[in-house]
Structure formats: C-alpha cells, structure tokens
Amino acid sequence: MNYQFNWSVLWSGQTGGWLLQGLLTTLQISLLGWLLAVALGIVSGALRTVPFPPLRWLATFYVEFFRNVPLLVWMFFWYFGVPPLLPEAVRNWLFDHGVEFWAGLCALGVYHGARFSEVIRSGIQSIPKTQFEAAISTGLTVAQSYRLIIIPIALRLIVPPATNESLNLLKNSSVALTIGVAELTFQTRQIETYTAKAFEALAAGTIVYLILCLSIAALMARVEKRFAIPGMIAQGTGD
C-alpha cells in the first residue's frame, strides 16, 4: 500500500506526553462519571422497586428519558444547553475551570446512571421477595431493609453486568471529544494533526483502550470472586 508506517512518531517529540495526558483525562472523567453513574443507578434502581408508586414513576421517567436519547445529544445538551441557564457567577467560574470536562462528566454520569439503574433493578428483582418480607418482619423499615439487606445483596449479584456497563462507560468517554474534552481519542487525533500519521495514532489509542478495559475486567473478576454469595451465584468464573 502507498503508505509509509513510521511508528517512531508515537514516542518522539510531544506525542508521548499527549497520550499520557489523554489517558489521565480519560481516567478522570471515567472514574468520576462512574461514581456518579453508580450513585444515580443505585438510588433510581432501588426506587424502581419500592412499594410506593410516585417514586417508581419518577425513577422510571429518569431511566427511560436518559437512556433512550443518544449520548452524543446529551453531551451537546450539557455543554450548550445547561450553562446559559446557570447564574452568571457560576457560569463564569465554570468557563474558567474547564466547562467542557464538567459537561462531559454530567453527560456520561447521568446517561450511564440510567443504564446502571436497570442493572441494579434486575439485581434487586432477582432476590426472592421473601427476603424483603423477612426483613420487614424483623421490624426494619422499608428504607432500612433496602439499605441493610436488599441493596448489599443486589450489588454482589450484579457484578458481571456492572462490569459490562463500566467498560461501556470507559469507552463512551471518547464521545466527550465532540465538546472539546482532551481525552485519549482526542489526543490520538491531535497526533494525527501534527504528524499526519493516522494509522499509528489510532493503533496507539486502540492498544491503550484495550489494556485499560482488560485491566478493569480482570479487576472485576477478582471482585466477583471475592464477594460471591455462596449458594446464590456460581462462584466467580473470571478465568
């Protein structure tokens, strides 16, 4: 083919530093986004199963609204749509402190929160109803039985699908480049700009994503094994 590969562009000059910066940004936005998503997911996933209809409706609305609109649209919404609604002082502060990052974080966290919610709900609903009834009959309130009995069990049951969602979240963080967040994919494009070596840059990005995702999968396999509930789920089948 009429293309000369030159892999040295990946470590000569500034490119190594850019890749590292991009990796850090990807990790930051993914980690914070993950925390937000898991928090929202646990709350709304639990609310979708409580015996109080208005709360269920509220949680259902959140899930269906946020997961059924493309992530890209949410990126634009949080970046272009939300700041004009904020008070002047808050807006100026955001503009001085990387509004792109925070908008991308909200988009990622809230969107994946809706998806996590379904994972959590399926975990809760897989717990026999008698467990909840037993908790109530010991004198716990509904909130207490969720907090002390139902959620802890559900969280241990859902490790495999939650791993899947977490990996999706990490990879979806690349969508944030559309609003100018300088994450990993953004930096691979940057390298392409400076060196016109697109294949090398994309290959580098691919490998970094692959290593990241494999590490997370391995970590989650250990978590799964460590926290498996004997008798309720097959002991970790991680490898």
């Binding site: 293309y3 030159n6 100018g180 700009t193 400076y194 016109a196 070596k197």
Partner: protein, 285 residues
C-alpha cells in the same frame, strides 16, 4: 491469555493484509468502477457544504466536476461519475489510504508533514488564519488572545499555531465547524479561529451576519491542495492538468466568481497577487 495473543496476532495480520493487498493504481480503479470517489466536507461553505435546497455543493466540488472530470473522461475514454463521501480532518488521510476515497477535495492545507503520508495537487486556493468574533469584541488578532477562550477546529493547522505562539490562550477544539460556531454563538468561547475564507463563509451563512466580524492579520499561510494516495503520478497528473487547464482557460475564474464574486455565496475578491501565484503554477503544455 495465550489464545488472546493469538487472536491479536490474527487481527493485526488481517488488517495488514487488507491494506496491503491492493496493488492497482487509482486510474485503474476508476476505470473499472466508472466512479471517482471524492472525500469532501458538509459544513465548510462555500468550498463544500449542504445548501438550503439540501444539495451538496461548493467551490472545491465544482473544481472536481468541471475541471478534473473532463480530463479524466478524456484520459480513460469514458464518462466518469463523481461520488461524494464526507471527510473530516481526522479521517481524510485514512479514507485515502484505505481506498475508500480517491481524492480529497475540500479545504485541506498542504503541509510538509502531510506530504509524508499523501500527495498533493497544485495549490487551488490560498488563505490564512484569522478570528471570527462578535462585533465589538476586544479581540483584534493573535496579539490579543492571551487568556481568552479560543475555539478551533480539531486537526487544523491553526490550532497548532495558536498553541505554539500563545500558550496561555485557552484553546478548545471541536471536531467540526458547526459545533465551534455554536460555542461562539452561545458565548462559551470568545473567538473562533480558522482559515479566513472559511470564517467569511461561516459569517455569510450565519442567521445575522452583521453580528459577526472576521478580524486580525493572517497568522498562518494555508495553501489548499487536493490530496491523493502517494506515489500515483498518473492520477496526480490528471488532477494537476485539470486544475492547470482551468486556471489558464479562465474556467477557474468563472467558478471562483460563482462562489466568491460580488454576487457569490461568500464575496471574497481574488487578490491580484493570489491570481498571479495561481497562474505561475501553470506549466506550459
């Protein structure tokens, strides 16, 4: 783990095979398919954009259809059709090298680094980077952008220059022009930098052109060329002859006038020195 390494090896081998197995020249490919596939833009008026009637048109596209196609038809002795695909700064070189398109005809600046990866035609337009700002903005050029939020198009040469010359400007890069303009319109950024002619195009197409101004001296030199796969001189010759014939016959000026003339989409008169420069690229028959 061992299986996994094997899998990776197979994928890499397949990818390498898929990209290296094609030995045919661009002219052979076009001859066989009867189609010249060009990569072009959808949001860069007036070079290549989708107009009000939903037609994909522009100056660069006209140059291909009116200047290059006749030469190609004559060379291959048949009628060749043009097929347009969307390209963007980050995708145009992979599009070419993967054979998805044969020619990039949009607003691509010819640079030495890019010449390592692709070949360029003669220059068909020359411009330089400026700033698009809200009228009355304190930004007057590259000297006045320190600590300002500046939007740029990712993958453009201007972003690179701003980063090098004014490191304390807060550069925000967007993948395409509409997003960058949206950010400017919403006051997310204080200015948008791109090639002057593109900013003029954007301004002319804005809902209220009078609210915007293109400011500053050119802080870069941006010669536009059409890009194609490397080491394919026969095809490059066709493209260059097409452009040179258009410049010497006056066809270029007719097309220029259609898009950049007083009644054109984006009035932008051809500077005498630019005209002279274009003419001097034409070598004798």
């Amino acid at each position: 783990m061992k299986n996994f390494i094997w899998l990776c090896a197979v994928i890499v081998a397949l990818a390498a095979g898929a990209t290296s197995a094609r030995g045919q020249s661009t002219l052979e490919k076009i001859d066989k398919s009867g189609v010249l596939v060009i990569g072009t833009r959808t949001g860069s008026p007036p070079f290549a954009y989708v107009n009000k009637n939903n037609e994909w048109v522009g100056f660069s596209i006209d140059l291909v259809e009116q200047a290059i196609i006749p030469v190609l038809n004559k060379k291959l002795n048949k009628t060749i059709k043009v097929e347009k695909k969307e390209s963007a700064p980050a995708t145009r070189i992979p599009l070419l090298t993967s054979n998805a398109v044969d020619l990039i005809a949009e607003t691509m600046t010819d640079t030495q680094a890019r010449r390592d990866s692709v070949d360029f035609s003669i220059t068909f337009f020359a411009t330089g980077a400026q700033f698009l700002v809200r009228k009355g903005s304190p930004i007057k050029g590259i000297q006045t952008i320190a600590n300002r939020r500046i939007a740029a198009q990712q993958g453009s040469t201007n972003a690179k220059i701003v980063r090098e010359r004014v490191p304390n400007a807060k550069l925000v890069e967007f993948p395409d022009q509409p997003a960058a303009f949206q950010a400017l319109a919403q006051k997310q950024v204080d200015a948008y930098t791109n090639d002057g002619i593109q900013l003029a195009g954007l301004r002319a197409k804005a809902p209220k052109p009078d609210e915007w101004a293109v400011v500053g001296e050119f802080f870069s030199y941006e010669p536009y060329g059409m890009a194609m796969r490397r080491n394919d001189s026969d095809f490059r010759q066709v493209v260059n002859v097409g452009l040179m014939d258009a410049i010497s016959s006056g066809l270029y000026l007719t097309i220029y006038d259609k898009w950049f003339g007083i009644k054109g989409e984006v009035p932008y008169l051809l500077a005498p020195e630019t005209k002279r420069f274009l003419e001097m690229q034409v070598v004798p028959k």
